[in-house]
Amino acid sequence: MIAAALTIPFTVGLGLLFLRKLVSGRAAAGLGAASMAVSLVLLALVWEGKDTISGEVDTEWIEPLGARLHLGATAISWPFLLMTAFIGLLCCVWLIAGDTAPALVGLVLIISASSLGVFASLDFLLFFVFFELALIPMWFVISWWGDPHDSAGRTRAATRFLLFTVTGSALLLVGIVLVARDSGSLQFTEIDGGPLVAAVLIVLGFAVKTPLVPLHTWLPDAHSKAPTVGSVLLAAVFLKLGTYGLIISSGLLSASFADVAPYVAGAGVVGIIWSALACYAQDDLKRLIAYSSIGHMGFVALAISTMSPIGIAAAVFGSVAHGLVTGLLFFLSGSLKDRFGTASMRAIGRGLYARTPWLAVAFVFAAVASLGLPGLAGFWGELLSLRAAYEVGVLDKPYAWTALGLAVLGVALTTAYFVRAIRLLAQGEPVAQEADRDLAVRESVVSVALVVSILVLGLAPGLIVGLYDSGSTVTYEGTYTAVTP
């Protein structure tokens, strides 16, 4: 079933690329949405419980290297899989519009399918192939369909994104070879530990993708120049490839990962504070959201670096919540950019409550979810991260608690800049503009779907946290059991 969940969107995506002249944009997006919906349903049905590997597929691939086509959903990857398929589906729904290029839908499907492949892989080389597969399509998405007012800038942003990521993934490849040499296997189920060099290289590779400060410089440009669906996929799915990678490598490498964990925590906390400060300086809404992503990923990195069960729960929850919340934020800022031709908050003007009420309400909802209002999804990710830091995990107590203090400060700063954004856009004296239009049907559908899912996760966090009850032995050997104290 997992194989079908990957191949269906992948095949449809390839088909749309080659037959792009034969279909209209609307039909292509509809077809894409249908295939992602099928994929989502299949992935939901595949679940067999948190103590096993669900829907495991394991066949021969490259025998001399010990690489196998090994797929399956674990307690860690399943939430990521569902979130990715869901976001992919919403991206296709978003594209159901007259002026959509069928090729763009094809690329979105290929990117989603490759990301699903990353989360579903239980073989390190296969993981890596999927990890790389999504990159070039994303380059085209940013460079060809990005910001229509800045064609040189979007290509520059796309190339910088690609080169940063590829540098990271090349180091990752070396790390994988090192791990495979030490363990004699590429299977997640069999890898146990690796040398310190491997941990450094692998963490560096994923840190570029996550991104952790100071390897984040590709992110603001790429997110702000990408088209709406590109920004959504980058924020909701691509960054998760990094955090997911960190989560599983923390389990696979346990001992040597613990040696680099303090640096991960440090980079995460610096990211939280630094990105919050950077957000104050932003006028471009998409850049603001992009910087806020760095902060959220900082919380996730902090959680992972504790290597404790609650840290894993926090990291998975934080990643999924960030995918939904930031996805919604990018969809809505895309709506604004479509209407006003720019994402500059000054140019869009104040008083959206009066001018485009539903759009404004959805935006404010997403913003307060992002700043961590209790009862919404964003809250639990941050709270669990702080709790993980409080419980210290593998970190030193003074270090972890310093990080905790700084992260709490970051929560306050985050609140402040989102409130600023809400004040600049939603509130104030309305100055009507010609382009004021409220949400169209497709935009409403996407927004409602995301709002509902954010509420559900916010009100019932047990849906994800329950997967990591303390004492349970989840997933394959190594990932999670190894870090259970």
Binding site: P64, V129, E132, L133
Partner: protein, 467 residues
């Protein structure tokens, strides 16, 4: 003097040499002088040599067998794709095939050589026809200039190698590999002399591989030579030198391991970096491939520099994929050059859309060389080639390789983007009806691409069987 010749081992080389002679004779006595007239016997000779090679499979070292196979298949692709030059008055088909097969014979001898005189003779047998091939196009000043560059660089490096060989002879008193191995193992030899001798000897081979600092001739020669000759030099010639370097070092000079392993590791690192940096600036497909072939040479040397149980396998597997991808690229560019007169990026813009049978193979070849999915085989061979380096504990070299993968992607991607971009003109030029000979070349391109696609889907096809 009695020189023992093991005919069973040189069989394929002799058949190829015979083919060369037949091709020349057919051309001399067959008045129409078409490309097929001499190309056909050349192809038959190559296939026959291949059959002979398989017959001898059990007598030959697997490493040598695999390299010979790569050389034969590579030359065959070059011969078939060279049909694109049919009816080009400046290119004499008989001489072309004669020289090409003579060089291929030299390449086969080089990987089979087990003594230094054979190696030098084979090296010359590969080099001299190659030089003539580069300058073969009549009345082409550029080609003649390139041939001169090639000639001078070649002669100098061979001379240096000969100095090394004579020093080795002076030290060990023998020229056979086994004798050298025994002679150098005795302890009372001056280390310095042995080190100098070894370094001088491998210089000639590094030159052929195009390793830094002996790479300067490559861009000049490749861009001036007929495209398929450049393809031959970048694939078959490299395969031969790689085989010769490896055999020489491992069979004859293991005693001097400490000397050459460090040097080669540094050479590998510098070569891939310089090649990639050079390629970044190119805006012509052939110059880009020329510089990229320097970088790829670095990736080929890396597993050889560190002798581990995976080393020779890794080098050959990487080489096989590189040769196939490179030949597909050169053959497709040869077609483009014939039909459009230029391989500048401005001319190639949108080729994958306007002319998929040549554009899509170029995309696939570039992605394979870059080691990027969907060309999974490129990625897998990158993994394969990094593995022995890690195995030997040279993590720094592996990291340099990783950084170079990124550098490589930068320009391969630029090339891919040019190919799939929206075409500059709405109604691009199409050849009214391409002559049969060009269709044959295109067929070679498509078969090569099919090979790359098949290998990407089932990497086992290559990795489990070669060598």
């Amino acid at each position: 003097m009695n020189i023992p010749v093991d005919w069973s081992v040189v069989g394929p080389a002799v058949i190829v040499a015979l083919g060369a002679l037949v091709a020349l004779l057919v051309d001399a006595f067959y008045s129409r002088r078409t490309w097929l007239g001499s190309g056909l016997p050349a192809s038959i000779a190559l296939v026959w040599a291949g059959i002979e090679l398989f017959r001898l499979h059990d007598d030959i070292v697997p490493f040598t067998f695999a390299l010979s196979l790569v050389i034969l298949v590579g030359t065959l692709v070059v011969v078939v794709a060279s049909n694109v030059m049919n009816f080009e008055n400046a290119m004499p088909p008989g001489e072309y095939h004669f020289l090409l097969l003579a060089a291929a014979g030299g390449a086969l001898m080089m990987v089979a050589a087990r003594d230094l005189v054979t190696l030098i003779v084979a090296l010359e047998l590969l080099s001299l026809p190659s030089i003539a091939l580069v300058g073969l196009r009549q009345g082409d000043q550029r080609a003649i200039k390139s041939a001169w560059t090639f000639f001078l660089a070649s002669v100098v490096s061979t001379a240096i190698t000969l100095m090394g060989v004579s020093l080795l002879y002076g030290v060990a008193g023998t020229l056979t590999y086994d004798g050298l191995n025994a002679g150098l193992s005795s302890t009372d030899l001056p280390d310095g002399v042995v080190a100098v001798a070894v370094i001088l000897t491998i210089i000639g081979l590094l030159f052929k591989l195009g390793a830094v600092p002996f790479h300067v001739w490559i861009p000049d020669t490749y861009t001036g030579a007929p495209v398929m000759v450049a393809g031959f030099l970048s694939s078959v010639s490299k395969a031969a030198s790689l085989g010769a370097v490896y055999t020489l070092l491992v069979v004859a000079l293991p005693a001097a391991f400490d000397t050459w392993t460090t040097i080669l590791a540094v050479v590998a690192a510098v070569t891939m970096t310089v090649g990639n940096l050079g390629a970044l600036r190119q805006t012509n497909a052939i110059s880009m491939l020329a510089w990229s072939s320097i970088a790829q040479a670095g990736f080929l040397i890396a597993p050889v520099a560190v002798v581990t149980r995976f080393g020779p396998k890794a080098a050959v597997q990487y080489l096989a994929v590189y040769v196939l991808a490179n030949l597909v690229a050169f053959a497709a560019l040869a077609v483009v050059l014939r039909l459009r007169g230029s391989t500048d990026y401005s001319e190639l813009k949108g080729l994958a859309r306007t002319d998929p049978p040549t554009g899509v193979p170029l995309v696939m070849a570039a992605l394979t060389l870059a080691g990027f999915p969907p060309a999974v085989i490129g990625l897998v061979t990158k993994y394969v080639v990094i593995r022995p380096v890690i195995e030997a504990g040279e993590t720094w070299l592996a990291v340099v390789m990783a950084v170079n993968v990124m550098l490589g992607l930068a320009y391969y991607l630029k090339f891919v983007v040019v190919l799939v971009d929206r075409p500059a003109i709405d109604d691009p030029y199409r050849s009214p009806s391409p002559p049969v000979s060009i269709r044959i070349s295109k067929a070679a391109v498509l078969i090569g691409t099919a090979g790359l696609v098949a290998l990407s889907a089932w990497p086992d096809l290559l990795l489990a069987h070669l060598p």
